[in-house]
Symmetry: C5
Subunit: 154 residues, 5 copies
Amino acid sequence: MAKVGIADTTFARYDMGKAAIDEIKRNSSVKIERYTVPGIKDLPVACKKLIDERHCDIVMALGMPGSKPVDKTCAHEASMGIIICQLMTNKHIIEVFVHEDEAPDGRELAALMDKRAREHALNVVRLLFDQRSLERQAGTGQRQGYEDVGPARI
Amino acid sequence: MAKVGIADTTFARYDMGKAAIDEIKRNSSVKIERYTVPGIKDLPVACKKLIDERHCDIVMALGMPGSKPVDKTCAHEASMGIIICQLMTNKHIIEVFVHEDEAPDGRELAALMDKRAREHALNVVRLLFDQRSLERQAGTGQRQGYEDVGPARI
Amino acid sequence: MAKVGIADTTFARYDMGKAAIDEIKRNSSVKIERYTVPGIKDLPVACKKLIDERHCDIVMALGMPGSKPVDKTCAHEASMGIIICQLMTNKHIIEVFVHEDEAPDGRELAALMDKRAREHALNVVRLLFDQRSLERQAGTGQRQGYEDVGPARI
Amino acid sequence: MAKVGIADTTFARYDMGKAAIDEIKRNSSVKIERYTVPGIKDLPVACKKLIDERHCDIVMALGMPGSKPVDKTCAHEASMGIIICQLMTNKHIIEVFVHEDEAPDGRELAALMDKRAREHALNVVRLLFDQRSLERQAGTGQRQGYEDVGPARI
Amino acid sequence: MAKVGIADTTFARYDMGKAAIDEIKRNSSVKIERYTVPGIKDLPVACKKLIDERHCDIVMALGMPGSKPVDKTCAHEASMGIIICQLMTNKHIIEVFVHEDEAPDGRELAALMDKRAREHALNVVRLLFDQRSLERQAGTGQRQGYEDVGPARI
């Protein structure tokens, strides 16, 4: 049975890990390994450990970068680490970051975090079980958390 | 027979993968392996898997970074990952990124994406079968998607 | 017995290492290995040596980036190194950076450095001995050094 | 016989590779391996292949980043890749980048590209055959392409 | 006998390598290996070669980034390479960079370069022979080249 790792943080202001797990379970039969760390800069090694030590086939890295410039730098560093981790392991890590300043208030922020986590959870299921469905969506302007933009036409 | 990997995204608003495959097939006899992922940050490991697991000799990484600052950061992270992936594998990955804000509207954007994908597809064919033709073009101001700038002269 | 590495600097203006060690010892029985280096850019290899040569199970990297733009760049470089080090070793390195310009004067700076070091020391204890407690705090807006922000609700 | 790799691009607007090869041949007896790629982001793996597959002892990476912000980012990514490649191979790669906006017009641009390529070609010869001559120039404000600045004195 | 590598550049406007060697020899009995390269971006691999090929136990990387934005980017790239090199080798590389615009004129620049090189040379001696002395200075606001800032107090 495929194993999906869920790496998330105590820093984030909404439990995206729970939303992602719920969505994955609704749409597939997989084993879940969850690993919660303090902040987004702890996510890369959490993902690495989920892959190397808990043998996950794919991982979701869920985090909420803050709104200050230093938080943007942290997000960049975490993202680079997540990309390097994928190259070291040949496993996908689907990064689900919602920046705190993407939403005007806590209510919309939580809703966005829930929606993006769920939509990326479906991408995880597709990468595991139905890569052809992604190929059929190639170049069609898909978005996660916001409405799809759709394709541009010549 | 040489094998070319095509890594592209569902985020992009034009099917550059299809354009690239069409152009490669018109100009050479190679096997194509296609791998579509959600976004540009998923491209580095997709390229790595195309090389390591599907044994591609060269890969095209096609993506459309959005126009927001965070999208520029994502593009930078993806590019760094693509460069590191090449160093790990000793295989070329031709990055074909068209920034959403390079064109004033969807129609021109799609046209630019089609043109750049096709012109870089020719570079892939040259790297595989005719490296001398690239050497003959050294320092001549070639561009992909836009008109060539041409050489500067002392 | 678990071994915790403490990497810190002579550049910082408060002895965060001492505060972290005090807090760890109050809350667990572990062996401490301390390694003080000149500046934050020396921290990544100090952490690597604590893990590889002194066999630490987890490391805290404590530093105080200065307030000039070049200091921000140094902090970014150190953070990238700390993330790469974690990926190479599969060990957590909890980065505790307090930027000199986070506080208006020396007194508040020292207080913030003490508080953040101690709160992250508790995260180290949780990562070592009680990962479930972190999972229970997932998505609840925890902060270190400042008051917790708390969760956002839909 | 020592082997020097010359990696250059079709994007550049002057044939720096030719200038570098001419200068190297005037000043030493070495074998040259040339490898032309489309753009500067293709240079890191080209250098890696010149070292690993064509057994070069040292490589020159010649490129002309454009003048737009995205081009500056590309140059940064290529430079990081070139540095990482050197660390992976323990071989020098002398980066010769001339930014398109370093010169006011095509004529001066070409002249600068010619001069910088030639002066760095001499550095390659020194690194291969006369490291002491570099040591004698330590801290003396040498420049390539522009006039030397000379040393500062207490 | 311990071996200290000195990597420096012909680009710098003061012979920091000579100052560092002088200071190290006044304060310890070690063997010195010197390696001068053209610019700061050549320093990471020079350090790697000093460690891998000339068996240095620790290295100083001395450079003077210029004052233009492109020079700041070069410094960042060199610093990242130096950090990665340390992680690959488990050896310290003490980076001694003096930015050309840290001083108002050549005379003060040279003085600053001399002072910072010498003060970091003492850090090298401490890392090799007296790590406890660094631990005693933890969190005390030490600076190299400028006056120490001293500790902040709660």
